[in-house]
Amino acid sequence: MDFDLTEEQRLLKDSIDGLLTDSYDFESRKKYMKEKGGWSQAVWGKLAEQGLLGLPFAEPDGGFGGGGVETMIVMEALGKALVLEPYLPTVVIGGGFLRHAGTDAQKAAHVPGIVDGSKTLAFAQLEKNSRYDLFDVATTAKKKGDGWVIDGEKFVVLNGENADTLIVTARTKGNRRDTTGIGVFLVPASAKGVTKKSYPTQDGLHAADITFTGVEVDGSAAIGNPDDSLALIERVVDEARVALCAEAVGLMDESLKTTVEYIKTRKQFGVAIGSFQSLQHRASDMFVAAEQARSMSMFATMASDFTDAKERSNAIAAAKVQIGKSLKFVGQQAIQLHGGIGMTMEAKIGHYFKRLTMIENTFGDTDYHQRRVADAGGLV
């Protein structure tokens, strides 16, 4: 049992923290947000230069063979700096599908572009009525010759505007809520019949609603078994949840730090408001919530390697519950302790709060995952 980072992991942490300290202050972030697709190609290039975009890929595929802990380190750092770039959809999710189920040809076609920063991906999964159920898929992929024809609508696709390749879940067989008959397809964003409506999200990222109308892809587009890929989707989304937990820990750390600094300097009644016990206790409770979240983020990271899929999913669901509870408390109290200034776009704290809030509503909220744990027979 060991919770320390190895020497290499510590170096990784230092290098990404250093990069983001140099290039990701709050003012720069505002500029990046105005670039095409809502993030900075230059920063993305720097992440590629440091090898961060190739981190989880195996060495023969051109990556660096990093594991869950390495991704945790990166996501925590990205959270701390409130980074806009599409690491989650491209490296964690897109990369996840390719790593776990991609053929050699698929990997050769997509991994080098991810690693060198020239290509980004997006995960087109959410549908009008699917909410958090990954098996709830109405989009269809019908066999045509060797290939497939995809029809359907996907919503809130992060990085949908910029992505070169879309990873689309679609049903090859059965009815909307069947757990079998679901496939995963690589679709070029430029394919005929793909139309996008792009917009910014509440937390300053960018997403798109994407319609697929008779989109034709060839037989090599399917990742994994086109008739039975729910287990694959669950595995990759579990990894995305773990990554979000780590990002949230970074966001909470920075929110707490910023808030404590603020109440140490803000004066009322002639003294720093941090000298008042009611505020001290609130800040202490924020610390407790953030530490409990950190513990569960570590737990989830280690659980992603569990061989039993049910055990893995249960542990990660539990982590998402703890993160959800903690982030709501830390986020809301950070605003409260900042007072009026916390309500403004000018102050950085509100932006942390908004990103935290969106994490709660991504890939299952607290209630959703709590129900999953309860129905799975608990956690003791």
């Binding site: 060991d2 320390d4 206790h281 407790v288 709590q370």
Partner: protein, 396 residues
């Protein structure tokens, strides 16, 4: 980063578990499971079994009879002990006064007291809190005056846990009234049988008698019963309170209770079916289990950190343990109340010896709920813990 225990650690867990299985008197275990009070004899019998095995004072330095275990082994031992469940060693002797004596006492005191603490030949109690000194402990007034080769002690202590069983007390006494409040306190030990010591039991809201008031009326104590230096008692008290950082979360206790709740909830009916099938209840139970898992991980982080970097600098996460640990213990007793529903009402009148065996175990659930309100009050209330985090961790 790795969650797994080593093969040796797993073997150790098995060894500990099978020792408990073979050696904890079944009736003692049953009473703990049912939330009943144990008699003095039952507790002492078990502690002597543990001491004979060499595990009674496991965390003491080896030269005083400790085991030399790693932090992880201590963690495993405690978890197994709490979740078996078996009575934990008498904290006042083994975890509190013992370490003060072997760290600050002289050779004679070590020789005289330590073996008797280990074998519970002396039952120790703690004379810290006073009616006017709870969270503000340093304001204590009990006075020890030097008179030749004796101390004359006058004053009153309160919340003295199980003082009715005690042979010895360790006491914080004011020895210099002119000094700043923390500076004039000394750490003095003496027999409870001394002339002038009176114990008055306090009945708590659960109906039990765990705590007492202790009065000192011109109690004469030999000067040599001072531990360490005169007027340094506050330092020793801080050392003592900081000594048991990870046991305080009582993860094993809550684990055992949650297993019991799950078991009961599949038997007790609500709406014509077991209450575990009620979605709202099941989610509440899952919520508590998740909180406990987070706490267990937080505790493991602290344990792993101590193992690697020593106990010198406490991991900031350790302050989380008391707050969350007590909240979760309280939640588990609330859940038990919910499972048992209307059958929480019958009250088991305590016998003269403090036992409560007259009624069905269901009668112990409400008392356990009432009794557990104490866990967020004792050992530095949760509000004091928040003060500590604000000052020591956040720098407020």
């Amino acid at each position: 980063m790795d969650l797994a225990f080593t093969r040796e650690e797993q073997a150790f867990r098995e060894e500990v578990r099978s020792f408990f299985r073979d050696n904890v008197p079944p009736d003692t275990r049953r009473k703990l499971v049912e939330g009943r009070h144990l008699s003095k004899d039952e507790m002492v019998t078990w502690w002597r079994i543990l001491n004979k095995k060499g595990w009674g004072t496991s965390h003491w330095p080896t030269q005083y009879g400790g085991t030399g275990w790693t932090s992880v082994q201590h963690y495993i031992f405690n978890e197994e002990l709490q979740s078996y469940p078996a009575p934990q060693p008498l904290a006042f002797g083994v975890s509190m006064v013992g370490p003060v004596i072997y760290t600050f006492g002289n050779e004679e005191q070590k020789k005289k007291y330590l073996p008797r603490i280990a074998n519970v030949d002396d039952w120790w109690c703690q004379g810290f809190s006073e009616p006017g000194s709870g969270s503000d402990l340093a304001s204590l007034k009990t006075k020890a005056e030097r008179k030749g080769d004796k101390w004359i002690i006058n004053g009153q202590k309160t919340w003295t846990t199980l003082a009715q069983h005690a042979d010895m007390i360790f006491c914080l006494c004011r020895t210099d009234a002119s000094a700043k409040k923390q500076m004039g306190i000394s750490f003095i030990v003496f027999p409870m049988k001394s002339k002038g010591v009176t114990v008055r039991p306090i009945q708590t809201i659960d109906g039990g008698v765990e705590v007492n008031e202790v009065f000192f009326d011109d109690v004469e104590v030999p000067y040599e019963n001072l531990i360490g230096e005169e007027n340094k008692g506050w330092d020793y008290a801080k050392f003592l309170l900081g000594n048991e950082r990870t046991g305080i979360a009582r993860v094993g206790v809550s684990k055992e209770r949650l297993r019991r709740i799950r078991d009961l909830a599949s038997k007790v009916e609500s709406g014509g079916k077991p209450i575990i099938q009620d979605a709202a209840f099941r989610e509440k139970l899952a919520a508590c289990e998740i909180e406990l898992k987070a706490l267990e991980l937080t505790q493991l982080r602290v344990v792993a950190d101590e193992g690697k970097h020593g106990k010198g600098k406490p991991n900031p996460a350790s302050s989380v343990l008391k707050i969350k640990g007590s909240e979760i213990q309280q939640t588990t007793t609330e859940l038990l109340m919910e499972v048992i529903g209307p059958f929480a009402a019958p009250y088991d009148v305590h016998g003269d010896d403090g036992s409560n065996e007259a009624m069905d175990w269901t009668a112990q659930i409400a008392p356990s709920y009432f009794n557990n309100r104490k866990v967020s009050i004792y050992g530095g209330s949760n509000e004091i813990q928040r003060n500590i985090i604000a000052k020591a961790v956040l720098g407020l």
